[in-house]
């Protein structure tokens, strides 16, 4: 177990480095000069130079990258160009909001997706299968933010079961937290649960045709045992392999769904940063998101290794 984690961790180091280079170089390519952006047409030549010096823009790109990386490694993502707020604190303040949405929607997507996928795979071409497959196909075609709008119209505005907007931190009230994240998470998780259902179904159908399933049945093991122990363990291997991708999708989707529910998360931060071309903020956001994805990937890699003995380091 420890070896497995260490092994995976090591494999993720190049990924993080490359992401940091990409992030840094992309955002450094911004067409407009940040000094002009901040000061506009006002300010003297001297003020411009001073700001340039203060922002460290006179250093060569490589030096700036390593300075940025070094600070980032210590948790300092720089300062916003516009309101002199620390990027780290701005991001950390909103992180729990976006994480709540991502986490709850991932939970919904996995539970609904796996259950529907298994049900469909057990009886291929039955009505259950058709219903699940059709549902999954439609689910993948619905934009999450539109589904959010409809959920708000029905369950918040008309029925008043849930709040239409806003977010309550879990520390304030777990119950209110749950009420505030339920609708956004359902909206967000719909298409992922559809995608997971399709993957589980096809993996399960494939596994059920394997020799070892037939061999397990030939030993007289009960159908339930064959399906849930022998088939599901193997069917989950390819599903887990793409799970971190699904969670990445959810994280991205959260940025948009937040707007529907007027939730002040990373999405709002990102949109504002784009409009203002706030480089440090964008860099920080990308890096934090990648860090999140990397943690998720590490977790799924470990689960993958536990499920698939062939993937364990020898």
């Amino acid at each position: 177990m420890f070896r497995l984690i260490a092994h995976r961790l090591l494999a993720l180091v190049p990924l993080l480095l490359i992401v940091s280079v990409l992030t840094f170089s992309f955002t450094s390519l911004l067409p407009s000069d940040p000094v002009d952006l901040i000061l506009g047409d006002t300010g003297t030549q001297e003020q411009h130079e001073m700001l340039r010096e203060r922002l460290g823009l006179n250093e060569p790109v490589v030096v700036r990258y390593f300075q940025w990386l070094g600070r980032a490694a210590q948790g300092d993502l720089g300062t916003s160009f516009f309101n002199s707020v620390s990027v780290t604190s701005a991001v950390m303040q909103r992180l729990p909001v976006t994480l709540s949405l991502t986490f709850v929607s991932a939970l919904i997507a996995i539970i609904v997706g796996v259950a529907a996928g298994i049900a469909a795979a057990l009886r291929p071409r039955s009505w259950v299968d058709r219903f699940a497959t059709l549902g999954a196909t439609i689910g993948q075609a619905i934009p999450n933010f539109w589904f959010g709008l409809i959920l708000v119209a029905v369950f918040a505005v008309s029925l008043r079961w849930f709040p239409a907007t806003g977010f309550t931190p879990i520390s304030t009230s777990p119950w209110e937290w749950l009420r505030s994240v339920t609708l956004p998470s359902i909206a967000l998780g719909l298409s992922s649960s559809a995608a997971i259902a399709r993957q589980v179904r096809s993996a399960m159908v494939g596994v059920l045709q394997q020799d070892y399933i037939r061999a397990a049945r030939a030993q007289g093991l009960s159908t339930r045992r064959v399906i849930f122990r022998h088939a599901l363990t193997n069917a989950m291997i390819p599903v887990v392999a793409v799970l971190s991708f699904q969670i990445t999708v959810l994280l991205g989707g959260a940025l948009i769904v937040e707007q529907v529910f007027a939730i002040n998360g990373l999405g709002t931060l990102a949109i504002t940063a784009v409009r203002q071309q706030d480089i440090p903020m964008l860099q920080g956001l990308v890096l934090v998101m990648v860090a999140l994805v990397v943690v998720v990937q590490l977790a799924t890699d470990v689960i993958y290794g536990l499920l698939n003995p062939k993937a364990r380091p020898s």
Binding site: H7, L10, A11, P14
Partner: protein, 340 residues
């Protein structure tokens, strides 16, 4: 037949490198450890061994699909080992192949005509009609006909597909065809059709075959000489009949004894003999010496430390076994040229 070999392999090494975590080179695995072989024009050499013996690695190296890690391979006047996997056209034309699985060896998106004439397009300037003419001739050589030209591989049975593969291999009139388990994927009742076809074509066109197979009995039918491989080493080599009837290496003997006989009575007697034979002691773990020492009933202390050289054997050929140490050594011990 002339005495000048068509293909001469000396101290051939084939090595695969495992990949480690970061994509850097890992540990080497030596699939072939210093093999010596030669094939004369028009001759058939059967290369026999179990899975993992390195026989397919030799085939792939001769075909230029895998580079040789050491040693030499002379084909006529050309040094194949020096060319790596980039054979020039004049060499490629002369060495063709038929692979084991006729279901995956034919491109499913091409028609039979395209498959059979693919070598002609690559190596000749023949026009379309000329190629079609040649395709018909080739199909007729393998007992198929003009009507099959437009069809796709999935419309044929395994035996017919193998005929198509043979037609394609014959297209350039090569001097050597590597046959990698050409019938083992076929039904018993169609296997012999293909063997007969290969045999007829060889005699008519004077092609040499390097026949890779796991079945000694089958190889015996159509080979002039047989070489036996075990764990990357060629342990015995010699005229087909001699190797089949009077195997000199204990491994060859074990291989022959393991092939079930069609006679139930003889088979019963053999099983009784096997049971009566004393069990071989628990495997000795030794990285030096003869590769077969762990399974050999005749193992001697010497086998654990020294790699036996190839000794001459009565009736022709060689065996790398100290049981024949009274005879002159023809070749130095294989696998000693490099540290394994």
């Amino acid at each position: 037949m002339t005495d000048r070999p068509l293909l001469e392999i000396n101290d051939l090494w084939v090595t695969y490198w495992g990949r480690s975590l970061l994509g850097l080179s890992g540990r080497p695995f030596h699939a072939v450890k210093g093999a010596n072989l030669s094939i004369r024009p028009g001759e058939t050499l059967g290369l026999v061994g179990e899975s993992g013996s390195g026989k397919s690695s030799i085939a792939n190296t001769v075909l230029g699909l895998v580079p040789a890690a050491g040693g030499s391979m002379r084909f006529g006047d050309e040094d194949l080992a020096g060319m790596g996997t980039r054979y020039p056209s004049n060499v490629r034309k002369q060495i063709q192949a038929v692979f084991q699985d006729p279901y995956s060896s034919l491109n499913p998106s091409m028609t039979v005509e395209e498959i059979v004439t693919e070598p002609l397009r690559v190596h000749t300037t023949m026009g379309r009609s000329e190629r079609r003419q040649r395709a018909v001739e080739l199909l007729e050589l393998v007992s198929l006909s003009r009507e099959h030209l437009e069809r796709h591989p999935h419309q044929f049975s395994g035996g017919q597909r193998q005929r198509i593969a043979i037609a394609s291999a014959l297209a350039l009139q090569p001097r050597l065809i590597v046959l990698d388990e050409p019938v083992s994927a076929l039904d018993v009742s169609t296997q012999n059709q293909i063997i007969n076809l290969l045999y007829e074509r060889r005699d008519a066109l004077g092609i040499a075959y390097l026949l890779i197979a796991h079945d000694l009995a089958l190889v015996h039918h159509i080979s002039d000489r047989i070489a036996v491989m075990y764990l990357g080493h060629i342990v015995e080599e010699g005229p087909s009949d001699r190797v089949y009837r009077r195997p000199a290496h204990p491994y060859t003997k074990a291989l022959l004894d393991a092939v079930p006989l069609l006679d139930p009575q003889a088979q019963r007697a053999r099983r009784a003999a096997r049971k009566a034979a004393p069990a071989i002691d628990a495997p000795r773990v030794s990285t030096t010496g003869c590769p077969y020492q762990n399974r050999c009933p005749h193992v001697m202390p010497r086998c654990q430390t020294e790699m036996p050289p190839a000794y001459a054997v009565d009736g022709g050929g060689t065996a790398s076994c100290f049981l024949h140490a009274d005879r002159p050594a023809v070749l130095p011990a294989s696998g000693t040229g490099k540290a394994a």
